[in-house]
Each structure stands twice: as C-alpha cells, then as structure tokens.
C-alpha cells in the first residue's frame, strides 16, 4: 500500500509576546508520521497540543517553517494546487458556511472553486444530499439548520470534488450525541470502508479515536509522542488497572497525590476538580493491594463519593505516556528551547 500523507520533521513556530519580549513558540515540533492510502488515522491530543496547526499545514493554510509534507507523493509547497485537489477539509464549529445562502447554494459556490459545474456538479450535490439525508432542507438557508445539519453540509462540501484525502479537524466537537454517533458511523463505514478515503481525524475525545482509528498518533505540546494502533497502546501499557476515586472536600490535592504516589507499585497519579468534586486517577498493575491505604489517605482530607477499578482506556495510556490529561488545555507557552 502506498503512502497518502507523509509528514517529515515538520516545525511550525509562532512569534508571541510584545516587542522586546517576543519569542518563538513551537506549535508543531519535528512532527513525523506517514498515513497509508485508505487508512483512518487519528491525531489525539489535548487542546493546544498542535493538532489544528498540523492540519492547517496539511491543508496548505499554513506554511511550515521546517520539514516536508507530501500528499499523494507530491510536496504541498511546490505542488499546492495539485495537493488541494486531493484534500477535503472539515473543521469544527458552526461558522464555516454562508448562513444567508441555502445548503444547496453553499455547495454550488464551493463546487465552482473546485472547477465543478453543470450536470457534473448537480449530480454530485444530489448524491451528497441523498447520502447525508439533507434533501428535504437543501433549499433552506443555513441559518435555519441545526448544528448537526450544518456539519453535514460541511462534510458534503469536503466531499464535493471526491478527494482522496480527508482532513477532519474535531468534526464532532459541539455536536449532540446523536449527531456525533451518526458522524462517527458515516466516517468509519461510508467514507473509510466503502469509499476507501484516506482520513486524518484529529480529536481530543479518546473514545472517538479508539472506536474509529486504525492507528493513532499522540501529540502533546507540539511533539508526536508515539504512533501505534489502539490495541498496541493498551497492550504496551505496563500496568493493567486504573483506580478512580471521586471525592469531595479535598483541601490539599498536591499533597494527597504525593502521598498516593508513594504507595507500593503506583506508577502515576492525576487529579482534576470540578465543582468541588475531585476525580483522582491512580495507574498501577493491581489496585486491590493498595485499596485500604488509599481510602485511609483520602479520608484524612475529605469524603469519598465513589471508587472504581477499570481497565485502562486510551486516555489512561495518554496520561501514562505524556503525563497530561486529554481534557487539559496545554496551550500555554512552549518556548523554542530544544531538548
């Protein structure tokens, strides 16, 4: 199988700060990976990890500072027009369409940008409207559409010119669970399995990546941490259990995490608090031997609302590998100092 997307040593820096204090921040730092033709590949990382910057580089919206990107064997910088014809782009958010135009008129306009017109264009729009179940609303203005319907039109736009490669940047962000489910099924079954599209999906939903992707690249603070199949990630994790505690009244979380970390065979501890409820995760080979000690330590500070022992998910793998939760925002400054 040949390579559809080739990313090699890509660096993208941004100048941040004011006047004399300006400095370079690495949004993408020496990213390297390949995606084979027909593969559904995931880019998983927290907000601010560099996923969208990388997708924008691939979509030729950004020019990388270093490294090379090839789409279907051609360099995107020197063959940008060819590469743009091979790519269909979907981003998250509702505001990517002309709200004062109908769904059909939106597609007609974007079809023109890809050189489609006349019967060919009309047949393609008809097919996509049918495929995405939008025929009944195709002549209504976008402003009357629900978020999910708008995202369907965005998807139809990306498919207008029948591209070989699809770049889906957080396509289910902000959608209700029903539409998210529909979109996931559509991506997996219709686009990937039936139409054999090469898909790069970025997400910070680990269950989405786990369910859809054949291989996943973990990206954190601009760096590609690892590229494996979901199965390989879980298999290669040295621990096998995750002990989760839901507590309230925790006064000194950092101190508590230190104490928990010192318990026998604990590999990693993380915590996050929402509305005075603290969720603590302890990653370790077996939870049962430290259960009573853990309860005792937590009880000294607060009240235990619930305890759960689970098998590791991709999120646990991510935490293990990067020390960062997927729900965290890592958009804080990353100065351009190399390791």
């Amino acid at each position: 199988m040949s390579v559809a997307i080739e990313v090699k040593d890509v660096v993208k820096k941004f100048r941040r700060g004011r006047r004399l204090k300006k400095r370079d921040i690495f949004a993408v730092d020496k990213a390297t990976f390949d995606i084979e033709e027909g593969e559904l590949f995931g880019l998983l990382g927290p907000n601010g990890a560099g996923k969208t910057t990388l997708v924008r580089c691939l979509a030729t919206l950004l020019i990388q500072d270093e490294g090379t990107i090839k789409i279907m064997g051609k360099d995107i910088y020197s063959n940008s027009l060819y590469c743009r014809r091979q790519i269909g782009l979907v981003t998250s958010g509702e505001r990517t369409l002309y709200w004062k135009l109908s769904g059909r008129d939106n597609l007609k306009f974007f079809a023109a940008l890809y050189g489609l017109d006349g019967k060919e264009r009309d047949m393609r729009i008809e097919y996509l409207m049918e495929l995405l179940d939008l025929k009944d609303v195709q002549n209504e203005r976008i402003e009357k559409y629900s978020s999910g319907m708008k995202q369907k039109i965005s998807l139809a736009r990306a498919l207008l010119h029948d591209p070989k490669v699809l770049l889906l940047d957080e396509p289910t962000l902000g959608l209700d669970p029903q539409f998210s489910r529909f979109l996931r099924n559509f991506i997996k079954n219709s686009l990937n399995k039936e139409q054999k599209k090469t898909i790069l999906l970025t997400t910070h939903y680990m269950d989405e990546a786990d369910e859809l992707c054949e291989r996943i690249a973990f990206i954190n603070r601009g760096k590609i941490v690892d590229v494996k199949t979901p199965y390989e990630y879980k298999r290669d994790l040295p621990h096998t259990e995750v002990l989760e505690l839901r507590c309230s009244g925790i006064q000194n979380c950092d101190e508590l995490l230190k104490q928990l970390q010192s318990l026998n065979s604990v590999e990693k501890t993380t915590a996050n608090s929402v509305d005075h409820v603290t969720n603590i995760k302890i990653i370790l080979p077996r939870a049962e031997p430290i259960l009573s000690d853990t309860i005792e330590l937590v009880r000294k500070q607060g009240k235990i609302l619930g305890i759960n022992v689970e098998q590791p998910t991709l999120e646990d793998v991510f935490i293990y590998v990067t020390g960062t939760r997927l729900s965290e925002d890592t958009a804080e400054e990353r100065p351009a100092t190399k390791d």
Binding site: T53, R56, T60, L61, L62, K100, L113, G115
Partner: protein, 275 residues
Amino acid sequence: MTFKNNLKIILAENKKTIDIALSYPIFLVFWGIAPLLWLLPFVFQGKALVGGMSSASFKALTGSANFLPFILIGTMVSTYIFSGLWGVGNSLREETYWGTLEYIIASPTNPVVVLLGKTLAEFILASANVTIQALIATFFLGVNLTLAKIFPVMVIVLLLLIGFYGFAIAFAGFTLLIKEVHGYVHSLEWVFYLFSPIRYPVEVSSITKTLSALIPLTYALVAIRGIILLNKHIVNLWQTMLILIGMDIVLIIGGYLLFQYLERKTRQAGTISQY
C-alpha cells in the same frame, strides 16, 4: 484552473455576493440614498454662501457656474470608488467573520479570482446605487443628465475603476494580514476628499492642486465633468485616458503582486482564520 473555470468562479462569487447583499434589502436602500444625504449639506451650504445655485467664482475655477451637478458627479464617481474600496478591500474580512475564508484559501482557486468576482459584484451594486442617485438628482434636484453622454462617461469610469480595483485587491491583502482596516480606509477616503475634486475644484489651493495630480480620481473627474458640463468630446480627452490606462497597468500589476506577497505572509504568520 482554465480560463473558463476562472470565469465561472468569478460569476459564482458575483452571484454569492449579490445574493448575500440582497438578503439585507435595507442596506441597499440605505447605500442608495445615503450618499445624497451626505451631499445635501454641501448643496445647502453652497446656497447659503452664494445665495443661489450658481457662482461666478465657481465658474472661474471650473468653467461651469452651477455647483450642484459638479458635486453630484463627484459624489456618484466617489460612490464607485469607496464602495469598491470598502467592498473588495474589506471582503476577505467578511469571509473571515463568516468562517469561510479558510475554505476558499484551501481550494485550488487563486484567491485573486475570487476577489475579481467580488469586484464584479461591487461594480453591479455600486451601479445600482449610482442609478438611484441619478434618478433622485434628475427628478428631485432638477439636474439634467443627458443619456447621450453616458457612454463616454462610462468609458472613463471603467478606466478609473480598473486601476482602483487593482488597488483594492492589494488592500484586501492588507486585510488578510492586519485584519483591521477601517482606520486606513477612512484615512484614504479623507485623502481623496481633500486632494481630489470630489466636492470642490482642487484649484482653490496650490497644495491641493499639486497633490491631486497623484490621484487617478482627479483625472477621471475632470474628464467626466468636461464631458457632462462643458460638452467636451471623449476624443479630446485622450491624454486623460492615456494617464488612466498607465495608472491601470501599474495598479493592477502592483495590486496583484502585493496581494500574492501578503497572502504568503499571512500563511506564514498563521493568521488566516483570525479576525
């Protein structure tokens, strides 16, 4: 993309821009009438100063005593100019606001082709506005605009606009890079108002007269007023036309190259989607 494809993109963009504009009909009415509302204070001011619609000193400067048609022509031509500057220059900012710019830039179409479509739409919309102004001037202000003079006037207007739209395309490039251009557009507007004969003859001051020679609008307005007010034949305006053609070539090529440069800078800076 072939020439035929690009032509279709221009027409698709033109249709889209007009469809969106027509979805806000009140704006069309406003922009049709507003320039006349701006004009009226000057008419009343002129009337109060000279005690009527004509002035001997005005005739000495312009060759025509009646100042109303003079100002009206200035207003109508400046409607084309400023709507082009606002419409084309600011259009990519609108696309950013709608969230559609990234999809235009990520397509295999050169954004300049899309801007040409916006230019065509702005020309059509401005023509509609100017027609409303001409009708109001004819029926309510008693100005006699002869149909026979429209063709030569349109030739001059087109020669002016070709270069000016080149300038507006460069301005669109600045919008991509620096996002906020209202201050620049307003400053340019006032430079044009001050140093070109939109509302008064530039001969009133040696400074305005000298600086007006740098602005293509000056040549066009002098020529158009010559045709309409002084019954000059277009053939006798060949020098003006040559100057405008020269400026067109410089502004179109310069505008295109500057836009390409600024677009690449924006891609490097990573600010395409920001507004």
